[in-house]
């Protein structure tokens, strides 16, 4: 017994002996706090003062991310941009999730509905994602609405695919047959018998959808669709910094991109750990 404990000591959490569940929850909490604090901080940033005296300064203690050509503090702009990205990502994920849940449950109705859902998924995944986003955002006439809809209406395919296969399996269960024989209608079965079983898939899917949505939002604003140039979105900041690359202002591009990368990584981390918690195979370790 004692020997075994000694062997385990090395692997244990550095603060105190914790099992995987505690560790996972701590990781999730820390990541969530970072993301939420970025979001809250961004709401306080209204107008970033311009100081032309301080233009194009390299990163220092006063301006951790340097300043741009108008002397605006890049750290503030980056935080504001991340907040905007998080908001767009949040709305877009919400839209996508609703679509996937509806499609997933609709596929449970009958064979024809299932085939129809599969066809729609195939159609949406047959066009490269970025082209599809541009297409949808053009349809909504560009602007902020175009970006939100473009990102929101195109990110449901992976989750829908997962839900559809999950629903297909659940549908073969006996209690579904029983409920059908008892005369319950399809919608009742879908919401009472199928939806509760796919909730964990939906939660994980949503969290893993978030980073994609944020990245695509940055990509599409970088390409010039959507948000106007004075909005401090990450994509706008990066595309603006393209003009100053040749003059050696590396910090204008490096730090905002790096912050975006960290936020995306944090979301991935949360998603993976939540999946660990929800998956019964790994949750009890």
């Amino acid at each position: 017994m004692i020997k075994k404990n000694k062997g385990n000591d090395k692997k244990q959490w550095f603060l105190y002996p914790a099992n995987l569940r505690t560790k996972t929850i701590i990781i999730i909490l820390i990541s969530a706090i970072v993301i939420i604090s970025i979001f809250i901080a961004s709401t306080f940033i209204k107008d970033i003062p311009t100081h032309f005296i301080n233009a194009n300064q390299i990163p220092s203690f006063e301006h951790p991310f340097g300043t741009d050509w108008m002397g605006r503090d890049m750290f503030q702009r980056t935080i504001a941009g991340l907040g905007l990205s998080l908001m767009v990502g949040f709305i877009a994920s919400a839209i996508s999730t609703i679509i996937s849940i509806i499609l997933g449950l609709f596929s449970s109705f009958n064979r024809f509905a299932d085939e129809a859902v599969a066809g729609v998924i195939d159609l949406f995944s047959s066009i490269p994602h970025i082209i599809l986003i541009i297409l949808v955002s053009i349809m909504f006439g560009g602007g902020v609405l175009g970006v939100i809809m473009g990102v929101g209406l195109t990110h449901w395919t992976p989750l829908s695919r997962v839900l559809r296969s999950e629903v297909k399996e659940i549908r073969t269960k006996e209690y579904i047959q029983l409920a059908e024989n008892l005369g319950k209608n399809k919608i009742w079965i879908a919401t009472k018998h199928i939806l509760p079983l796919i909730v964990s898939q939906i939660i994980v899917g949503v969290i893993l959808m978030f980073p994609h949505a944020i990245m695509h939002e940055a990509a599409i604003t970088f390409l010039g669709f959507g948000l106007p140039p004075h909005q401090p979105a990450i994509g706008v900041i990066l595309s603006e910094s393209m003009n100053y690359l040749a003059s050696g202002s590396w910090w204008l591009a490096f730090y905002p991109g790096m912050s975006l990368l960290i936020v995306v990584l944090l979301f991935d981390l949360i998603g993976e750990n939540v999946e660990k918690l929800l998956n019964p195979e790994t949750a009890q370790k």
Partner: protein, 329 residues
């Protein structure tokens, strides 16, 4: 495998292709028709014209024609490979797409090959040395690059190699003042290096992670334990039991990445101002060039379909275990 099955397979795929293409064509057409773009204004770009001239243009662009008729005409013209005239380039869309796509095809093919080969090799090395520093470095790299926006990676590479070190030109397909037909091979090649490097660095992450995880799984299997007990070790063990098992799914996975490859090309071409299909798509989208954008949507859908078809083929035709059995699905 007999001829019948092959015919059946291709017949099925052809049918799917036709249905999918019609769906994509109608879908994209309807979306763009619903958009607030006015084709006459997009054509005129603010030029002042009289009411009667505007009426002529409106009838030419079919502003008041019902949607169903427009879709029918669009599909008929699509069958004849006539995609209309681009408003930005003032040239037939097919010509523009062929020219731009061939430039992109070189870029995408090179990055596809490089990312596949290096991704696989890195994955093998990382999987073989599980838990070592190399493995950890590969894992960190793959996680980071998959979370990084591809255009940002492109900008970093541009900063390092083109501006800081000055080894490569900053952008454009050929030097300024030189016709594209007069450009030498070196001119072309030197401008291909950085976009290709970016796309390869981004593209190798998924394949490396996949190979690594699969190899670790194979190496912990019973038959590898048995092979080890027989005295096989080192590279031979990896080659005989690892690579043979992993290579085919990895190739399939790489074919399935055509969609991401195209998306990556769109962004990377924008960063390096490489005159390919991606940059053209962005220009067409920003300047409301509906015919050209529709053409690009159709072309990109064909491109993705070809990738999926090749993935299926590589799975069904090369894999010795499936060769014998029937084509399902």
């Amino acid at each position: 495998m007999n001829k019948n099955q092959i015919l059946k397979f291709f017949g099925y795929k052809l049918l799917r292709f036709v249905i999918l293409m019609i769906a994509v064509a109608i879908f994209s057409f309807v979306l763009l028709d619903l958009s607030p773009i006015d084709p006459v204004s997009a054509y005129l770009k603010g030029t002042a014209v009289s009411e009667s001239q505007r009426a002529i243009l409106e009838s030419y662009f079919g502003v008041n024609v019902p949607l169903t008729t427009k879709i029918y005409h669009w599909l008929v013209e699509l069958m004849h490979a006539n995609l209309g005239t681009s408003l930005v380039y003032r040239a037939p869309v097919t010509d523009v797409i062929i020219e731009k796509f061939s430039a992109s095809a070189v870029l995408m093919a090179l990055s596809w090959l490089l990312s596949g080969i290096f991704g696989f090799l890195i994955g093998i090395v990382a999987g073989k040395n599980k838990g070592s520093m190399i493995d950890k470095a590969v894992k960190v790299y793959c996680y980071a690059i998959q979370s990084a926006p591809p255009f940002w990676v492109g900008m970093l590479i541009l900063m390092i190699f083109a501006i800081y070190l000055g080894w490569f030109p900053i952008g454009l397909g050929v030097p300024i003042g030189v016709k594209s037909t007069d450009a030498t091979f070196i001119d072309w090649a030197s401008r291909l290096v950085l976009p290709t490097l970016t796309l390869s660095l981004v593209g190798l992450a998924p394949i490396a992670m996949y190979t690594r995880n699969e190899l670790i799984q194979v190496l912990s299997s019973d038959y590898v334990l048995f092979a080890k007990s027989r005295g096989e070790k080192g590279w031979d063990l990896i080659k005989n039991h690892g690579i043979r098992n992993i290579l085919l799914p990895a190739v399939t996975l790489q074919f399935l990445s055509f969609s991401e490859l195209f998306g990556g090309a769109v962004m990377v071409e924008q960063v390096f101002s490489y005159p390919g299909i991606g940059q053209t798509a962005v220009a067409a989208g920003l300047q409301n060039d509906v015919p050209l954008f529709l053409g690009i949507v159709v072309i990109s859908a064909i491109f993705v379909f070809v990738g999926n078809l090749l993935a299926d083929l590589s799975y069904y035709l090369i894999n010795p275990r499936i060769k014998e059995s029937e084509f399902s699905d």
